[in-house]
Symmetry: D2
Subunit: 387 residues, 4 copies
Amino acid sequence: MTERAEAIAAKIERFVRETVIPYERDPRLTAHGPTEELVQEMRAKARAAGLMTPHIVADGSHLSQRETAIVLKKSGLSPLGPVAVNTMAPDEGNMYLIGKIGTAEHKRRFLDKLVAGEARSAFFMTEPAEEGGAGSDPSMMKTTCRLDGDHWVINGRKAFITGAQGAKVGIIMAKSEDGACMFLVDLPDPAIRIDRVLDTIDSSMPGGHSVLTIDNLRVPADQMMGAAGEGFKYAQVRLSPARLSHCMRWLGSAMRAQEIASDYACRREAFGKKLVDHEGVGFMLAENMIDLKQAELMIDWCADVLDGGSLGTVESSMAKVAVSEALYRVADRCIQVMGGTGVSGDTVVEQIFREIRAFRIYDGPTEVHKWSLAKKIKRDHAKANPQ
Amino acid sequence: MTERAEAIAAKIERFVRETVIPYERDPRLTAHGPTEELVQEMRAKARAAGLMTPHIVADGSHLSQRETAIVLKKSGLSPLGPVAVNTMAPDEGNMYLIGKIGTAEHKRRFLDKLVAGEARSAFFMTEPAEEGGAGSDPSMMKTTCRLDGDHWVINGRKAFITGAQGAKVGIIMAKSEDGACMFLVDLPDPAIRIDRVLDTIDSSMPGGHSVLTIDNLRVPADQMMGAAGEGFKYAQVRLSPARLSHCMRWLGSAMRAQEIASDYACRREAFGKKLVDHEGVGFMLAENMIDLKQAELMIDWCADVLDGGSLGTVESSMAKVAVSEALYRVADRCIQVMGGTGVSGDTVVEQIFREIRAFRIYDGPTEVHKWSLAKKIKRDHAKANPQ
Amino acid sequence: MTERAEAIAAKIERFVRETVIPYERDPRLTAHGPTEELVQEMRAKARAAGLMTPHIVADGSHLSQRETAIVLKKSGLSPLGPVAVNTMAPDEGNMYLIGKIGTAEHKRRFLDKLVAGEARSAFFMTEPAEEGGAGSDPSMMKTTCRLDGDHWVINGRKAFITGAQGAKVGIIMAKSEDGACMFLVDLPDPAIRIDRVLDTIDSSMPGGHSVLTIDNLRVPADQMMGAAGEGFKYAQVRLSPARLSHCMRWLGSAMRAQEIASDYACRREAFGKKLVDHEGVGFMLAENMIDLKQAELMIDWCADVLDGGSLGTVESSMAKVAVSEALYRVADRCIQVMGGTGVSGDTVVEQIFREIRAFRIYDGPTEVHKWSLAKKIKRDHAKANPQ
Amino acid sequence: MTERAEAIAAKIERFVRETVIPYERDPRLTAHGPTEELVQEMRAKARAAGLMTPHIVADGSHLSQRETAIVLKKSGLSPLGPVAVNTMAPDEGNMYLIGKIGTAEHKRRFLDKLVAGEARSAFFMTEPAEEGGAGSDPSMMKTTCRLDGDHWVINGRKAFITGAQGAKVGIIMAKSEDGACMFLVDLPDPAIRIDRVLDTIDSSMPGGHSVLTIDNLRVPADQMMGAAGEGFKYAQVRLSPARLSHCMRWLGSAMRAQEIASDYACRREAFGKKLVDHEGVGFMLAENMIDLKQAELMIDWCADVLDGGSLGTVESSMAKVAVSEALYRVADRCIQVMGGTGVSGDTVVEQIFREIRAFRIYDGPTEVHKWSLAKKIKRDHAKANPQ
């Protein structure tokens, strides 16, 4: 691990523990995440502490994925941490993507304010399942774009668009005759109508998750990212790092849950001894210890693969499944260790559990990743056994 | 199965499907359960349909446990069903207990209005863990009662008291010099101060779960149930049927989740075929089918044991563990099958999942039951191998 | 439960415990099951005790499935028990099938000696996977039969034919132009060449599991069971009861493993107390208690379905999956409780574990049953939602 | 990874695949491991290939643990590999221990022939559970040693002593008045009587696992390793690396099982498509992919800890639990994927499954490690929260 990353991570940890965690009981936390006011209040403090967007360094370059891992993990010690220091989804992935694919003008107009933490963004990809749109299977995308003069006209419906409510920057995926295209747009826009914000089991993302209609949205041609028909290729660039950054943040949260549950078990008594001295409890905490370590190792391994220049599609699928399922077991055991207190909002463990339940679905359900890993096994076999 | 029970169950099913389920999107549903207004509105309809408190028949007698199982299961097809038809916890168990232990006067004053669905009740047993009070281990009870003239004076703190907010009847456990005592009280009472209603992962119980202080509550001596020092014995009478009734109701809810998830999987497509035709999805639904059947069989078996006159302490522990864990797996798989829709409030599956997560803790966490089953194994071994 | 079944079961239990269990260390136990000499020695004792083929009563009728369950469970208390009292696979299923489909002459020639325990039988269905033959998917069957005068000529390869080595009676499945056919044959026959007896993880079945070649076997036409082309229909008749009888027998074995492991845990000490007082151990035994009860309830439920006249295909799939997986968890935990002793042959637990591992494959792997249950869910949905 | 380790690992892999794997069907493989003749035949080939004891380099120094990991993993591609190239247990750990604790004379007399692969060794630690001796809890050790002139006299019973039958070198643990002592002895010795070789579920270790009696064994004082009373301290030195080396070898075996099962699934068809195209099968292989990667990462992490100079007691407990449980899941799934072939001896998968089942017990059952990890959590909490 580099010294710079360790220094940043240490500062982030202190900031989250001292400054962010007290906000976990703030009344401005809603079922659809912290209010914009609360977001800006926390960000002002992060900015003052020199900790805004800590994974992008002063010269605009990005920490390596391996370095990012330790920084994002620490930001995740509170579900509010990533919001406060701007390491959260979907912004983290969107900034990464614009940095990789965007033109200088794109960066100036859209990226800079994101990196400064002055604006939030959304990624318009998934569509309503009940209308046969793209969910886990992007090939089902129904939103269209067509060139009309020097503008593209976009029409369609999108669902589960995280952070759309309140975002200033949008990245929209749509299908042209040439294939998938990707656009940068200013938000809000009257042609994008938020039909409703979904109630979901998780509640940490500002703006929640929206269902919305894009109705003849006109986008200047120079706001297309890259070339027409290459949209899925660019989405691939974003895919693995964004997926892995979820793992990093939620690892931090699960570690926090384990801290709280261990403290609980070491203090409370029942049936004549401390809870931790009951093997039924102690074993659960021991299993958590192992699961947390394994999650960390999977993240670091996948980060190394990405840092080596690979797209890491297979590796990030492996990491996503392993880490989300492991952290979920951890959160579930923490609740169980804490009994009634565990299912109450008296500690943040209850929220962490709900967030990680959703994480097993978000960014591709476990089953979709296993499906693609099985394809990989078949492909490798065919390669090794040519006919 | 008796004809009468099948007839009641069929009517309850129709009522829940036609009348109760539409309320699942009512704005009067709060994080602490339906409002009193909503409770009364639904109960008026149940009363009009002749379905109030369906497990207690006209002559005041109780259906057998085996009969109760089928009725309560159907009431549980919606998390609101048991509230609407008055088969919910803790009232169902409280009515059972007063019916068994209460005097004629107790029944007249406290039970009748409960059976009529005109009042709700609460059972004041568990205490704040952080203050070293009784949680899963009732021997740690710190709330006291002492005789002062012809009144008992009760002092203490209670936590996780379901439904206390808004209840008209309370059953309070406290410790005298002679041991545990049990009292019937009218609510509200200024000597019982609700400090706060907990935010919890579940949200179906009217009144939520309260933390409260009992401060020199004076209870006339004739409101003691049974004899001083016998309180735990009476609690045992309530224990197994109440525990089993949770299993019955949540079985109904899990069956509903399976209906919804199966319907989803049979309609939606991804990767070129219906979800149900993906083994990764179809297998989860198949596992649910098995888990639901096993839960039903465990409930029926334990009900038969209770109907045979046994306290069923061991059997209801076995049923509680098996059923709560099985239904939780079912609810979790239903969410997973439904992807993003599963973690959203668009269907009731998300709530059912949260409720059953809490059920793994309520009425004794899984681990406490395993602990007592292990003691049973040791006891049986000692009996079979006298030294 | 009927009195007659309880009386038989009690006698079988005593016989197995007193007479069969001592044979568990007999040197005539081989990797391919007990030798014929040992089989006959145990059967002579069973016959003397009036306990041969206890599920078929004196008048030739069969106990109900529900009665059979309790009898076969007790016979399974030792892996040798079913061999000794003739309740074992595949004979139990073969006898059932001949009883249902065979002519009077078939019964006289083939069934009587099986019921008398004087002969063993084999069911020739599955084929070598490496040759593309029928395994879990019977539609892949490659063995053929064609009529030549008043004989059928059978050719093909079969694999995993339990008990073929040493059997006197065979039931052979083969495909004619009209579809699957079923034949009764005397064994051994020079046209049936046992190529090898497989080494397998299990070791209780006399004769083991063979791979064999059928080379121009000529069978008189009157030894066909039922009609040509109806073979799969008859196989269905055998299917559910045979599948369920596996569950019954292995339930008995798993109960025995639990007895042994509980005794071990109640006697041995480590880290300052009896093993059973370590929650890590006691919880495993408690989980076994629950799994064993659930297995029993699933068996009884499915038995009732069969006794009601249904083919029980869905129900026996559900029972097979639930019971085999539950008993496997039980056996695995018993080993773990017993540590080094658990993985040694010093107790029969080690063998029971190996047998039940194989049981998760035999009679249809868990996955094949889940696959067919998923189809059932889809079918039911289509029926309830006609288009 | 160092170049030297990669070069050695590549050679070991080729040797195991080309030369050792053909021996997997050798008739000299017994239930108690390969015969001495077979061991020597394979070792002669390893020696000729320059591959004997590959983790100890020419100058007598040991590869780092991280380097050892890759070499031992490759040796484990066959259960016979570690025997052939002398990386097996308990010799690997015994050589390590003598190298660390032994005097020059000890090394000359006992170590050299072990490193040369000319002799095998045994570690006499565990004792019969049924006699109350030391199993997982070494504090229960009953074997004694007392000084008599310039000899120590040892008496006691030992159980599960791997490789004792046929070993030339023994390391014996016994208790003196000063505490645990450790001795090097020549074997066989008439004062050490092998009472029986246990039948166990595993079958790869030459000599199997013995129960034996030490009856007035006289050992010259200079054959004590280190100082009297320090025996447990030396055992600690051996503990973590030996434990980890099990993980390394069995990882190789589980990878082999996955190769075989993947090949099977990519070639065989059922229900109209290749097995691998059934999600029920493909998902199992995908889960294996993840489990194997996680096992590898845990091993490498723990190896780094050891290479850093730590005893690694906590880390090797974590690795042992995680790796043994993961590899067991892998082996179990491989069997399930392969159906009947999986439970047969037709491939080595069936043996690998049995070996890894035992591995969950050997070197401390999973539960004992969880117990000690829970203690660690409690210790850390007390340290962080001084009273």
